[in-house]
């Protein structure tokens, strides 16, 4: 396994890296997602909004292989995919930064960065020294130099944890990054840093799907805004061609 | 852990039920129907008690059934209630809990079913005859054999002796240990080291090894030799010597387990006080047959007088608590001179393999 993916940005004719068609998911009798279709492009931040239970988390889990869809197709980088586990989606370059289930408190920062993909030496033992060095370098490059790679994650603040989660996604040179409420429970200064980070990611050609409850953040960051309502797609708008009122109406199901 | 016991005994019960089903076909259809409600069937000794009693009973023309209380007083009460309802001609008990079983015995008394006890007894109710081993005799013989052989080996009765005893809340463990202590107390040069264990081979091994490492022992005795570990511990210390060799540590036990008989044969174990499980089961089976026939009943304390019966000459004593008679079969030492005797339970058990 190559340690880093050799990155080739979206190569679709119309620039779409991810295309989703008619994606549906039921849990017992509850329809969590109902025939949702959308596209995500490289060099673009797609804002994803919707009320609680609108299907945002389910959508992320379906695309990243945590759950299997009941219907619909997912085309990633021109190939139809059916990820059985998150491991498969990560190997293709899809990273998810979850709002709560991302990190292992008992482990140190470097190990969380490399979680599930520990680097190994030639004798197949884990390469602790190299991972610590690379984690330090990564944190430095993100302006998080004060964070020690050997600090135990359980001891970190909310913002620091989020930074670790984001740096993990970045280390692996993902092509598509889902961010589920990356700014929740953060101090104002930290929110600014995260939004700045998202902007920087877009510059590098990555497709970012950014979930937030805060419409101001969405409007200041996203290129397009996609709205879910009760598991269905309520609409997709260019940020410049809409306003908060319209988005709120879509979120509430008013047409 | 209760659930554990239920499940583990269910397995044995299944095996036994099979045996009974097969055995049942050969039973005399016109004979008396008798039942033994065993406290447990999870060790060779309890199985030998039950199977021998059943074999002898059937050889006398009775229809003998075994049930297993699986070390549960509740399960035991249920088995008794079923047996009473089915109207057996006699019920033989061996209670898990002597107090709880008293209630069951009284119910059988009310139903007019005679009750007998094998190996252990209830605390009350009317019991026609209790047949069991004499714990005092077991402990006394184990200790006397130990002392005698220490003298033979060392020239004097002196030195450190290890006694592995069971938990003191168990009647058998306490009576045996008290008898051992009483004998050893007569020999002032014997220093007794008493160690508690819970009948596990790991404890037998570890305690023997630790004590023998820190002390120069002349002898070892124990509440039951059904549990292995002592000889292996001595072996691992290089202290397992044959009888008569210099440095031999005298070892005597109680019960005379089949494995011990082999060790005795190899001169690696001095002696064991026999718990005559085959003997008292045989006695009880015969007595029940005679009792039900009406041909013989014990009427007075003292040696039983019924020539030809296997219990002839054995001392009967009145048991106040159970308003009936009891006999305690005395132990006898087993050593190199008699270890191949086929009537020893350790040899008799081989026919059940």
């Amino acid at each position: 396994m190559a340690d880093r993916h050799t990155m080739t940005p979206a190569a679709d004719a119309d620039g779409a890296l991810l295309r989703v068609r008619g994606l549906s998911k039921r849990f017992d009798h509850v329809v969590a997602l109902d025939g949702v279709s959308f596209e995500a492009h490289g060099n673009e931040v797609l804002g994803l909004v919707g009320d609680n239970g609108a299907g945002k988390s389910t959508l992320i889990k379906l695309v990243s292989g945590v759950h299997r869809p009941n219907a619909g197709e997912i085309v990633f980088a021109d190939r139809e995919v059916a990820f059985a586990t998150p491991r498969d989606s990560r190997e293709r370059g899809i990273e998810v930064i979850y709002q709560d289930m991302a990190l292992v408190d008992e482990l140190e920062v470097w190990e969380n960065v490399f979680l599930g993909r520990l680097l190994r030496t030639r004798v197949k033992t884990i390469d602790r020294r190299r991972m610590i060095a690379e984690a330090a370098e990564l944190l430095e490059s993100l302006g998080l130099g004060s964070l020690s790679p050997t600090a135990q994650v359980g001891y970190l603040s909310g913002g620091q944890k989020k930074a670790v989660a984001i740096s993990r996604a970045l280390y692996w040179d993902a092509r598509l990054i889902f961010m589920d409420e990356p700014t929740a429970a953060l101090a104002v200064v930290e929110i600014g840093k995260v939004l700045e980070l998202i902007g920087r990611l877009r510059e590098t050609g990555v497709a970012v799907v950014f979930v937030s409850h805060n419409l101001q953040e969405i409007f200041s960051t996203a290129d397009r805004i996609m709205v879910l309502h009760r598991g269905q797609l309520a609409g997709i708008r260019q940020t410049g061609e809409t306003d908060q009122d319209e988005i709120i109406k879509l979120m509430m199901g008013v047409r | 852990m209760q659930a554990g016991k239920i499940l583990k005994h269910a397995a044995i019960a299944a095996v036994l039920a099979l045996g009974i089903a097969v055995g049942g076909q050969s039973a005399n259809a016109d004979g008396y129907k008798v039942i033994y409600i065993a406290p447990q069937l999870n060790n060779a000794a309890d199985i030998v008690i039950a199977r021998n009693w059943q074999d002898v009973s059937e050889s006398l023309g009775m229809d003998a059934v075994i049930k297993n209380a699986e070390i549960s007083a509740k399960r035991e009460a249920d088995e008794w209630a079923t047996a009473i309802a089915l109207g057996y001609d006699a019920i033989v008990g061996g209670p898990v809990d002597s107090l709880a079983a008293t209630i069951s015995v009284k119910k059988a008394n009310e139903a007019g079913i005679p009750v007998f006890m094998l190996g252990r007894t209830s605390a009350g109710g009317k019991v026609e005859l209790i047949a069991r081993a004499d714990n005092i005799s077991l402990g006394t013989i184990a200790a006397e054999e130990l002392v005698r052989r220490i003298e033979e080996q060392r020239g004097e009765i002196a030195g450190k002796v290890l006694e592995l005893h069971g938990p003191m809340d168990q009647v058998n463990a306490r009576q045996r240990s008290e008898a051992i202590q009483a004998v050893l107390a007569k020999h002032p040069k014997i220093e007794l080291i008493r160690k508690l264990q819970h009948w596990t081979p790991e404890e037998f091994f570890d305690i023997t090894k630790s004590v023998a490492s820190a002390n120069e022992l002349v002898g070892i005795t124990m509440g039951s030799d059904v549990i292995p570990g002592v000889d292996a511990a001595l072996d691992s210390l290089g202290q397992l010597k044959k009888i008569g060799e210099p440095g031999h540590i005298v070892v005597t036990g109680i019960d005379a387990d089949p494995r011990i008989l082999d060790l005795i044969g190899n001169d690696l174990w001095d002696a064991s006080a026999l718990q005559d499980m085959v003997g008292y089961g045989t006695i009880l089976a015969h007595y029940i047959k005679h009792y039900l026939d009406g041909s013989f009943k014990i009427t007075a304390a003292g040696p039983i007088d019924n020539p030809g019966a296997p219990y002839h000459g054995i001392e009967a004593r009145w048991s106040e608590a159970t308003e009936g008679w009891q006999i305690e079969t005395p132990s006898r030492p087993v050593d190199k001179s008699n270890y191949t005797d086929p009537t020893l339970w350790g040899n008799a058990i081989k026919k059940y393999q």
Partner: protein, 325 residues
């Protein structure tokens, strides 16, 4: 420094307990007794290693003591040369050992099948497995003691180098070193921490949670079988109640050694201290001229004290953690 002391509290307790015992009973201060402690600890130690693999993954294996009892008895039954109580097959020891380890692995597979695939609670599954195995143990052997084991079969548990240092001691100490290495330096070991620490995060990060859990249970089963082999050789005989009740000491050693029952936290070296502490207590009490009536009470109180002490150090560590930004 404080943190280091807290993390290694068990070794300090071990040191003080040993000193206290030796002060009361100077005869304890001998190479022979020291080795007895190690030998006594070896069976418990091997089981504890298996339990730690499961505990770190956030599961536990109550069945290991009966895996020990079952494989020991069936193994002895197959290999015994006794004409009455064995199977009569007298299989070659090497084959029997392979079969025993295979049975241990099989128990681990069954456990994890129920836990992972059928999602039954690990407590229920391994408890049921414990009961079932004990039941089978009776069925197999007619409740007899198995003995007359061939010397080559008994060597691992019974042979001592120079008549003093048992191979089982070397085996058990090296197993601890190897498994500590596995935990610290292999992806399997690290993945266990991740799984026990946060199973969803581990899964989302692409760790093969099920496969790792299966491996932990299989290891636990095989270590149970290995302990069975050692113990059978040491006792030169196997009874149906072999290993019964050991699960309590296994948990005690793990907890005293700082392994979290919630998963994801602990080492091999801490519980090694716990195992040795229990060994010192047991061996010390059997050498000391203490009244038999007191042994159980003293033992229980000492174990309780060790567990409480561990909890106190943990509380201190939590304070230290929350008090630091």
């Amino acid at each position: 420094m404080t943190r280091f002391l807290l993390r290694n509290a068990v070794w300090i307790v071990l040191l003080f307990t040993t000193i206290a015992f030796v002060a009361v009973e100077p005869r304890l201060l001998s190479v022979r007794i020291f080795i007895n402690v190690l030998e006594h600890s070896s069976i418990l130690g091997i089981l504890v290693i298996g339990m730690i693999f499961c505990l770190l993954a956030g599961r536990f294996d109550l069945s290991s003591e009966s895996t020990l009892g079952f494989t020991a008895l069936v193994g002895a039954w197959m290999v015994s040369t006794n004409p009455f109580f064995g199977s009569g097959w007298q299989l070659p020891p090497a084959l029997v050992i392979v079969l025993m380890l295979g049975m241990g692995a099989g128990v681990g597979c069954l456990n994890s099948f129920f836990i992972i695939k059928l999602r039954v609670n690990a407590f229920i599954v391994t408890l049921a497995m414990l009961l079932a195995l004990r039941g089978f143990t009776y069925v197999f052997t007619n409740a007899n003691t198995m003995y007359d084991l061939p010397p080559s079969f008994a060597a691992l548990g019974g042979y001592s180098i120079g008549g003093l240092l048992p191979i089982s001691v070397i085996l058990f100490l090296s197993l601890f070193v190897v498994s500590q290495f596995v935990l610290s330096y292999t992806t399997f070991g690290r993945d266990l921490y991740a799984i026990g620490g946060n199973r969803e995060a581990a899964f989302a990060a692409g760790i093969r949670v099920d496969r790792r859990t299966l491996t932990a249970f299989v290891l636990s089963g095989m270590l149970g079988a290995l302990a069975a082999w050692v113990l059978a050789g040491r006792l030169q005989a196997v009874t149906i109640n072999l290993g019964q009740g050991m699960v309590f000491e296994v948990f005690a050693a793990a907890v005293i050694g700082g392994v979290s029952l919630a998963g994801g936290k602990g080492t091999m070296m801490g519980p090694l201290g716990g195992v040795l502490l229990l060994g010192v207590i047991t061996t010390g009490l059997s050498v000391m001229p203490i009244s038999s009536f007191w042994v159980d009470a003293v033992r229980g109180v000492l174990i309780l004290a060790a567990v409480v002490l561990w909890r106190v150090t943990e509380i201190f560590e939590e304070r230290w953690r929350t008090g630091t930004p």
